[in-house]
Symmetry: C2
């Protein structure tokens, strides 16, 4: 699908885009604290969010877009002075997959992250200092609980769809299990119903890389430089898992960087090394190491079978939601078989599950890069869900 | 193939094994230094080696066994007081794949390693201190050159076979290119003719993990504790790549360690985390971080096409060696297509290449674990090569 990326900017092709946006913040749980899945209480909680499009009079056109590990509330449009748009701007806007001429899209930063919603780098009101390692462990279920409360505060009872890729896809799958009657459809992309041993293993090595850095300092580093080197290594591990063998070969091959022969030393030899170091270093400036620890743990804990005490079929039993499940052929971090299992579980309950495996060489990154392939699939699925809702209301 | 591991110890099934062995060391290049592929000279060089079996009168029964990244000269039998045998004891011995009743097996530690052969932790005679980062960069070609000199010193001109898996397999493939008339057959297992971008990427992250540890100290740490945490993270990354998704799921699943519920903290939750930390920590006590840096660079530089200036077919042109190439279905670190390419290149030269893909769930680790599957294949291949040599001599 490479030729797609040689084409013009889709916002040029598809009209103006969303234009300037602002991130709002709302304080929730200021009367009663949130009871986390672990039983620990936390509050108040600030939640950063953005909305795009117009809420319909009967409030039946709401789509909740859920971000992945390193994303935030700013999914589409441009913040003032920004040099690039939100992380899913190719997918959200007028005439795009989540068409803001028709739908009202809500995007919020998850609890535990570092982009405006309360997380380990936030100030603990009881001490006046950052939570750091005293922040309670959060789960995907906790992320979803906070999203539901945000929707309450916006006067939104029911979602036309919840959509997300990777960690965002886990939130999307968690929604119908946790709030079966608040979500009419689920679009889960490049994700899983439970982290496998290999997925846990990659996250664990990333965590170890951070915690091995003396500058992590047990998680209390906010008045110091912080675990810059450890966080960079953690991110490099992530980036290998986001690409495919073939995709890397096409992108870098064995090309040498800025020279014709090997250095015969430990400087940069190969372009792929330079790419990884750049990814690692640029992440350090924009992400909090503790948030990476907490959020990777949330991913590892994610398990809709509750440790095997119920089947996936049982997990989705009684959910009236329709499901669209999208995977990519070269995604070895979230292999296709994982969402295929979800499709089978939904169908065994006589539910409505559409499963699509898109051919791509981009590996896990395909969930963001192959937006043109996904757009017609998502558009027609949403159209079908939206129409069926209108009939029910009529 | 899991049931194999439930059976008795193969040394019981197959007789006595090799028994007690000793590692010898020979000093080479003490008159003239070695000229490395980079042009840098180095000498003298100590080489640690072991031999098993008896050299035949006409010296036509020699097999060189080449070790992988973390291996050494001690491939088979038992060192005095040891609690486990050499790393390939299941494969080398009386009645085993490399049958020491028939063959004379030589195993040596590669240059740049830390098990007795000169490497970065060795004393630089010009300073009286460890080389550390002043050790010259070495290549797989350099490893092979030193092995050839070791064989010279043992009075061995020609090899019946050179065999190895992973990094050992690269040495095996390098041999016929570098010394086409000294090697009658090549057995390369779970390896490649050149490192791909993904393979380079994993090695680069492992190196970054070591170099990010302040205790690495630019490579001069031999009078201090050294980069224990960084080396452990590097090894953990390696171990993920040695297993398969399915193999990990079978071995660990999502089983929790020593408790029934999540800890809701950052202690060990999953058995796979415990496994990885154990692998990381135990490696620290037995391996030198600088050796890992130098040897992973040698792997990344390995490229029989010389940066694409010749085809694989050209690389093997004029090599009279027969090739046995073995891959494993779930090995995603050295995927099967890489040795299939070698088989095709040899055959396009009208050479003799046997290619076997063994079904296994063990991932890259299969090259050591699936020894029973490999044994009959290797035995009949060696038999054929040995017999054809006898006919030529007759």
């Amino acid at each position: 699908m490479r030729h797609f990326h040689d084409m013009s900017d889709p916002s040029e092709l598809q009209g103006e885009g969303i234009g300037l946006v602002q991130t709002a913040t709302v304080r929730l749980y200021d009367q009663q604290p949130l009871v986390l899945e672990s039983g620990v209480t936390l509050g108040p909680i600030d939640v950063a969010y953005e909305t795009y499009g117009t809420l319909s009079p009967n409030r039946d056109n709401v789509i909740l877009a859920c971000h992945a590990l390193s994303g935030g509330a700013h999914a589409a449009g441009w913040l003032a002075g920004a040099t690039k748009p939100g992380w899913w701007d190719v997918f959200i806007g007028p005439g795009k997959a989540l068409d803001t001429n028709r739908y009202f899209v809500v995007s919020s930063n998850v609890i535990g992250s570092c982009y405006g919603t309360t997380g380990p780098s936030s100030i603990d009101p009881s001490t006046g200092k950052p939570f750091g390692p005293r922040f309670p462990v959060v789960t995907v279920g906790d992320m979803v609980q906070v999203q539901a409360r945000l929707l309450d505060s916006l006067g939104i009872d029911s979602l036309l769809a919840v959509i997300g890729g990777s960690m965002g896809g886990m939130q999307a799958l968690q929604w119908p299990v946790q709030y079966p009657h608040r979500v009419r459809s689920v679009i889960a992309i490049a994700t899983t119903s439970h982290h496998s041993a290999q997925q846990i293993a990659f996250n664990e090595v990333a965590r170890q890389a951070i915690m091995a850095d003396p500058a992590w300092n047990g998680g209390d580093y906010y008045e110091m430089e912080g675990p810059r080197l450890g966080l960079a290594v953690a991110r490099m591990i992530g980036h290998i898992t986001y690409l495919s063998d073939l995709g890397m070969a096409q992108k870098f091959g064995r090309r040498l960087r800025n020279r014709e022969k090997f250095g015969y030393d430990f400087s940069l030899d190969f372009e792929v090394e330079s790419y990884l170091r750049h990814q690692g270093e640029s992440f350090v400036g924009r992400f909090d190491a503790n948030s990476l620890l907490y959020m990777t743990k949330a991913l590892d804990y994610f398990d809709l079978t509750n440790g095997g005490t119920r089947s996936l079929e049982e997990a989705f039993r009684g959910c009236p939601s329709r499901f669209l499940l999208i995977t990519f052929s070269s995604d070895w971090l979230y292999p296709a078989y994982q969402l295929k299992e979800v499709a089978h579980a939904v169908r065994r309950n006589h539910g409505d599950a559409t499963y699509c495996e898109i051919r791509s060489d981009y590996g896990h990154d395909a969930f963001l890069l192959e937006y043109r392939e996904q757009t017609p699939i998502v558009v027609s699925f949403l159209e079908r869900v939206h129409r069926s809702g209108r009939r029910e209301h009529a």
